[in-house]
Assembly symmetry: C2
Homo-oligomer: 283 residues x 2
C-alpha cells in the first residue's frame, strides 16, 4: 500500500489511474480506524479498480470546546487495517497541506444544519464540506464511501456533490455495530467501563422507536417522546444532547405525519465522548 | 464552435479532451463580450489545445440593489466573437443548471474582501468563488484566464485555486482599453454620452498616481490623496466609490511605505453603471 503526505502526490497518483481508465473509490476518514471504516474500504475494493483512503483529523469541523486535541490516533494500526481491507493508497496529510491559506476560503452549508448535530455543533458541517471539497478535488474519485452513522453528513455530502457538480457517486454504507448493538465509533475507546456498559441502550432506544412505527404510530412527536422516555429511564450516566425524528434526507418534517423515509437520530454525551446513532425507516 | 447548456455535456466534452491528452484553457465570462474578453480567448487559444468559454450572469455575485436584471446581453454577437477568437466550446447554462440546490451550499471568502469592491459589494466575492468552484469542476481546465481589470477577483481566484487544490494555473491578462484610455467593460454601454466623455479621467487619475510613484513618492496616504484630488477636480458626473492603494495580491498595506507590488484601484458610480479600474506598479 502506498502512503502519501502531499496533496500533489496523491493527485498525480489518482491522475495516472484515471488516465489508464481505472475507477477510483475513496473513503475519507479521521483515522483510528474500526470495523465501520473497514466495511467502507471493503465495499470500495469490491466496486472500484483503485481504493484511496484518507486519514485526516480535520480541525475546522471541531468546535472550540470539542475533542480535536484528544481525538484518538493509531497510525500504525490504521495502515495495517487499511492495507488488509484492500486500500491501495493512504493519504495522510497534515493541516498545512490541506489548508495552505488557512481558512481564507471555506465552504458554507446553509441548509439541513439547523437540526441534529448541526444544531449542537455550529460550523461543524461547514468544516466537513470544506475539507471534503478539497479532498474530492485532490483524489478525483468516481465513488465515495460514507457510513450511515453520520446520516446528516451523508445527506449534506450528497448535496455538496450535486451543488458543486462533482462527478462522483456517493455510496452510503450501513452502520456497523458491536455484538451488543453499540454503533462502532473511534470515540468508543474514550468511554469509561460503566459508560460502555450503559451505551448499548442508545441503540435499544432507537429500536424501541422503530417498533412503535412498525406497529403503526405515525406521529413525529409521539415517536420522539417514546424514545426520549426510554432514554430517561435507561441512561443514568449519559446526557441526551438530542433525540429527533425527521424525513430523510431532507432533514425536515415534510408532512404532518410520518411518510416516506424517516430518520430517528440521537446524540448522547458521556464524560469524554459524544456518541451518535440513528435508524432509518421507510414509512 | 460547440454550444452547451447542460453541465454534464460540457463535463463530458472536457473529459474526452483530457482523456485524449489535450490541455483545456477556460475563460469564464458574464457575456456581452468585448475586446477584453477577446484578448483572454486569443491568449487561451495560443496556450491550450482546446478553449472553453462560459457566459453566465451569476445572480449570487450581485447585491440586491445592483444591476443583475439590467446586465447587458447579446448572445448572438457573443457567439460570433467567441468563435472568431478561437473558442471551441461555449457554455451557456441557466441558473437552475448551475444552482440545482439553490444556495444550499456556497463558498465563503474570509480574507481580502474588506477592501475595494469587496467592501462596497458585501457577498460579491462569495458569489464569484461559488460559481467559479462549480465551473472549474465542470470544465476541468488546465489554465484559466482572467482580466486584471477585476484585480481583486484575480487575487481571490488565485487563493481559491490554491485553497481548494484545483490543478489549474491562473493567467492574469492585461486590461484592454479604449483609445482614450477607458477600460473596456460590458457596463460602458450603459453610460450616457456626457458620462462617457468624462469616464477617461478615471484612468488619467490612476496614471497621475503612477507618475507620483515613479517620481519617488512612497507614502500610501499621499498617493491616495493625489488621485482623489485629481478625481474631485475632474469628475463632475461620477461619484467616487473608493480610491485605494494596497500591496498586491495581498490587498493589505504590508509595509508602512510602498514596497513590492502596489495596486491603485478606483470605482466610480455613474447613473446606470459602476466602473472600476486599476493600475499595478512594482515599487
Amino acid at each position: 500500500m502506498l502512503q502519501f503526505k502531499n496533496p500533489s502526490d496523491v493527485y498525480a497518483f489518482a491522475y495516472r489511474q484515471k488516465r489508464d481508465g481505472k475507477t477510483i473509490g475513496f473513503a475519507p476518514t479521521m483515522g483510528y480506524l474500526h470495523e465501520g471504516h473497514a466495511s467502507l474500504f471493503k465495499k470500495a475494493a469490491a466496486n472500484s479498480d483503485v481504493v484511496i483512503a484518507s486519514s485526516f483529523v480535520n480541525p475546522t469541523q471541531f468546535g472550540e470546546r470539542e475533542d480535536f486535541i484528544h481525538y484518538p490516533k493509531n497510525p500504525v494500526r490504521d495502515a495495517m487495517l487499511a492495507e488488509s481491507c484492500g486500500v491501495h493508497a493512504l493519504f495522510l496529510p497534515n493541516t498545512e497541506a490541506i489548508y495552505p491559506n488557512g481558512e481564507e476560503i471555506t465552504v458554507k452549508v446553509n441548509a439541513r444544519t439547523d437540526v441534529l448535530c448541526g444544531k449542537s455543533r455550529p460550523g461543524h458541517f461547514d468544516g466537513v464540506a470544506t475539507v471534503l471539497s478539497k479532498l474530492f478535488t485532490i483524489v478525483q474519485p468516481d465513488h465515495v464511501y460514507f457510513g450511515m452513522k453520520d446520516a446528516q453528513q451523508v445527506a449534506i455530502v450528497q448535496a455538496l456533490i450535486q451543488s458543486f457538480h462533482f462527478p462522483i457517486k456517493l455510496i452510503a454504507c450501513p452502520i456497523i455495530r458491536e455484538p451488543d448493538g453499540l454503533a462502532k465509533s473511534s470515540r468508543n475507546v474514550r468511554l469509561r467501563p460503566d459508560e460502555r456498559r450503559e451505551a448499548p441502550f442508545i441503540y435499544q432506544g432507537l429500536q424501541h422507536g422503530h417498533c412503535c412505527i412498525k406497529k403503526g404510530e405515525r406521529n413525529f412527536d409521539r415517536i420522539i417522546a417514546t424514545v426520549s422516555n426510554y432514554y430517561h429511564s435507561h441512561l443514568k450516566l449519559g446526557q441526551i444532547d438530542y433525540v429527533d425524528a425527521l424525513n430523510y434526507p431532507e432533514l425536515k418534517r415534510m408532512h404532518p405525519e410520518m411518510h416516506g423515509k424517516i430518520i430517528i437520530a440521537v446524540a448522547v454525551c458521556y464524560d469524554q465522548a459524544r456518541l451518535i446513532d440513528n435508524i432509518t425507516i421507510e414509512c
